[in-house]
Symmetry: C2
DNA sequence: CTAAAATTCAAACGATCGTTCGAAGCAAAC
DNA sequence: GTTTGCTTCGAACGATCGTTTGAATTTTAG
């Protein structure tokens, strides 16, 4: 927790790992590929992070801390209003991630990493994500539960899981797709968010 | 192309590979794990399939041949009608896959394998799938294009790609999720298909 | 029954994996 | 200048990977 130079060894490793994990998966990308791309020594990973698993966790932490903070801030803004709609809550969940997916500095790669995490059945990784960011999903789930009182708690939870996964995959593809030439990024983002919110709302309502 | 005993070495390998690829990914599951689960010798994979990559292809071929045949049959049934709706075409695409995901004999594992394939950016695998099943997507795309004349061809194609990926991920999760106790499988399937079709329609229309 | 073809087997190949180690390099503190 | 602590480095560790080999075994054909 000292200084964090923009191009320190740690940051270069994290950036290269993010890119290679997105392209080849967690087991598919080796530490030798990562360190070569980051132009650092192989042993630097275990020196700075301890292990490959810890490096993977740090790749998530670097982005998820901010992403989930934005989601919670947006959720708080929504629940402060007098009338709360399902679409508002979904917007609070989706828009921060969509902004990240359209970010230039590695954000699009990270969203693809996130999509891979959903595909993984990795016990260790699931537990890490649940331990560190489960409270965010719980806060959203609580608001959803108030808006969808007809759904049993168990039913609501797995619907949220499916919806979140499908949204994550869709946003991951945005990171690869090239936008139409004439279309502005803001226009693209707003239209994509609209479609995703419609899908999620349809999937959550009875 | 000779006989195909139900529990031949080849079939046992394919079944074990499907299950392990779903759980640990293509690079994450080793041939030693696969052959151990199939209770066959390690060398049997290279004898019967030639290589791990060819085995992966065969895991796809075994299921996709039937899945895409059903999709095309359903599409033909739809286009034979006088009035064709966007929802009809989506139903022809989604329902066969949803039935597969709820199949008991390995189908649910395969849909998770399919979801992994979407997450993979693997050049070789993408080319194999495109070469062997690209014509199915082209047939659907042609019908979609007729129903959505306002969309440019390029725009339509990447929307279809995103929608197909998101649907695949959602269906993959169905394979893991346990149904509510009181709910029949038919009821569950029809309701899920309805939600997925709504999402896809919203994503494809302007 | 016997020869031939197909299949299974144990064992090993070289390559690559994540990880570890001690020396070398380098900064700041005294 | 010397010491101290942090970082980088080349080299190697044992483990595991996909693949290959040749002999043993089973199945098929004549």
């Amino acid at each position: 927790m000292t200084e964090a130079p923009l191009f320190s060894t740690k940051q270069r490793i994290l950036g290269a790992a993010e890119d290679l994990f997105a392209r080849h998966g967690f087991t598919g990308a080796s530490l030798r590929q990562v360190t070569a791309a980051a132009r650092v020594n192989l042993a630097a990973v275990n020196y700075h992070f301890g292990s490959k698993d810890k490096l993977i966790e740090e790749v998530f932490r670097r982005r998820l801390d901010e992403l989930n903070a934005r989601r919670l801030a947006a959720l708080a803004r929504v629940t402060a209003k007098s009338m709360v709609s399902l679409e508002d809550v979904l917007d609070a969940f989706i828009t921060p991630a969509l902004e990240l997916s359209l970010d230039r500095s590695g954000g699009s790669a990270f969203v693809r990493v996130l999509a891979r995490a959903y595909a993984e059945h990795n016990e260790h990784l699931r537990k890490f994500l649940s331990d560190n960011y489960g409270h965010v999903l719980h806060e959203f789930a609580a608001v959803f539960a108030g808006l969808l009182p007809h759904l049993a708690k168990e039913e609501l939870y797995w619907r949220l899981d499916i919806v979140a996964g499908a949204l994550t995959y869709a946003m991951a593809d945005f990171g690869v797709i090239k936008r139409r030439d004439g279309q502005s990024e803001r226009d693209f983002r707003e239209r994509a968010a609209l479609h995703l919110i419609r899908f999620a709302a349809a999937g959550l309502r009875e």
